[in-house]
Symmetry: C2
Subunit: 290 residues, 2 copies
């Protein structure tokens, strides 16, 4: 059964997660609280969609699945705030708004990111979930976010900026498996994890999807529109960074992203038509303009 279209499911996920995070953050104190609200607002909410959709596929109560959906969006928001810092990617624009260290200052950005990471674990281990689920979600989220997951990818990305030789395709693929892939995988596996089911098809889906998403990001960096994207573009080329586009060329990169999106769709064949929204998500990722 496929209740709504991908667009409608994504919009519903964004609405539910936005409302949930607003409520959690409403009375967070001080400037750090205000910065957390700023950072946690907006975005496509693709990771939350993956959580909610994989949960639906496994018959998990949507109200329960909202907790890991909020967890992953809080984690993603923290990573953006810290990645945008002057010592990291030094970005001044995010989701069409000034970044946290521009609107406030660096100390507030560091602290708001830190507190958003803590909040992610408050959500993952939320008492409304069953004890074994809370424990498993918190543990696996920590693994995905940490020094062998997302942080490793970001560290490789920063090291690449000053490396003497540009990265190879394999190195960029490994980098992205951490930087984008780890949270994508966690999101897509949340449903089977909560249901105690085999997460392998959704893991393979997320791996292919994550890489396709990142190649599309590199393409967007070259030919996208800043106003639409809501962030600075053409930074990679200016920095002389190797990307999928610089290494493969634009058209081969596009072809590779399309292949990966199809591989992501194929991985979901065990789910039949019920996985249509997730399959559309993979196709959306490579055709998006922001």
């Amino acid at each position: 059964m496929r209740p709504v279209s991908f667009d409608a499911a994504l919009a519903a996920a964004a609405e539910a997660v936005g409302r949930g995070l607003d409520s959690l953050l409403a009375d967070m104190p001080g400037e750090v609280g205000a910065a957390m609200r700023h950072a946690a607002g907006g975005g496509k909410r693709l990771r939350a969609f993956l959580v909610l959709e994989s949960a639906r596929l496994h018959g998990v109560d949507p109200a329960q699945a909202l907790w890991p959906a909020m967890a992953i969006e809080a984690m993603h928001a923290y990573s953006l705030v810290h990645d945008d810092l002057p010592a990291m990617d030094d970005d001044d624009l995010r989701r069409g708004l000034p970044t946290v260290h521009v609107k406030w200052d660096e100390a507030t950005a560091i602290l708001a990111g830190d507190a958003l990471q803590s909040l992610a674990f408050e959500c993952a281990a939320h008492p409304e979930l069953a004890p074994a689920t809370r424990a498993d979600l918190a543990l696996t989220l920590a693994q995905a976010a940490g020094a062998r997951g997302m942080v490793l990818g970001q560290a490789m990305d920063i090291a690449a900026e000053t490396a003497e030789t540009p990265l190879t395709i394999d190195q960029i693929t490994a980098l992205q498996a951490g930087k984008t892939g780890a949270l994508f995988e966690w999101s897509a596996m949340a449903g089977p994890r909560m249901a105690g089911a085999d997460p392998d098809p959704l893991r393979r889906y997320a791996q292919a999807f994550g890489l396709a998403f990142q190649i599309a990001d590199d393409i967007l960096d070259v030919e996208g529109d800043e106003a639409r994207a809501g962030k600075r573009l053409k930074k990679d080329g200016a920095a002389g960074k190797a990307t999928f586009v610089s290494l493969l060329g634009l058209e081969p990169a596009r072809a590779r992203a399309a292949e990966l999106a199809e591989a992501a769709c194929d991985a979901l064949s065990p789910y039949g038509a019920g996985a249509g929204n997730l399959q559309d998500a993979a196709r959306f990722a490579i055709s998006r303009r922001s």
Copy 2:
């Protein structure tokens, strides 16, 4: 029963937690991994001692209690790395060694701190513990570390540096309840939490102990020895920051710390002689010279 002295128990806690963290961090990749090992090494391990000692009081298996003990030391290490950053307290010396951003760079320090926070939750939610325990430890650790706990305290501390009027005693007390108190409380409550027992006596102990510890820190900042302390001192006075010492005066501050240490000891009376090491810890906190 009181198996060993406070000194021996603290040394044993430091040894066990140091060995455990070394093992967890041994193959963390790259410069971020090296920075995590640097940051997680050394220190008094007082928070780990509180976990292990409160666990012992409640008959919790020491091997199981080692997980929350490592969790809190990883969390504490992350907070020091980020607090030392130029945009925060701008410290170049910690535990007698250069701080992470001095030895590496700011990006590595931000990422190593981020990954140490994730690691704290990997430990708190470790699969060797019972599901309900893992879930409860992860949730409460997130609450203690986040925007209503430790981060709030640090934010208040930074705001105080540029405030037009110096903080009052009540404001400094609230600041410290977040900055130091939240992790102290979590540590001391880990034992009853793991045993499903009433955590209230240990909560009251930790609240008084944490504040006594912080007043002692302010005294140390005025009259301590940098080489022994392993960090820069006399920074508060130079920055014109209000402290317990500047507001109360040196001797009244000393008297207040002693009162609080006694209140901490009194809170443990339900435990009888078994709590001797914890009581000695509170007395140690106000007499320490580093």
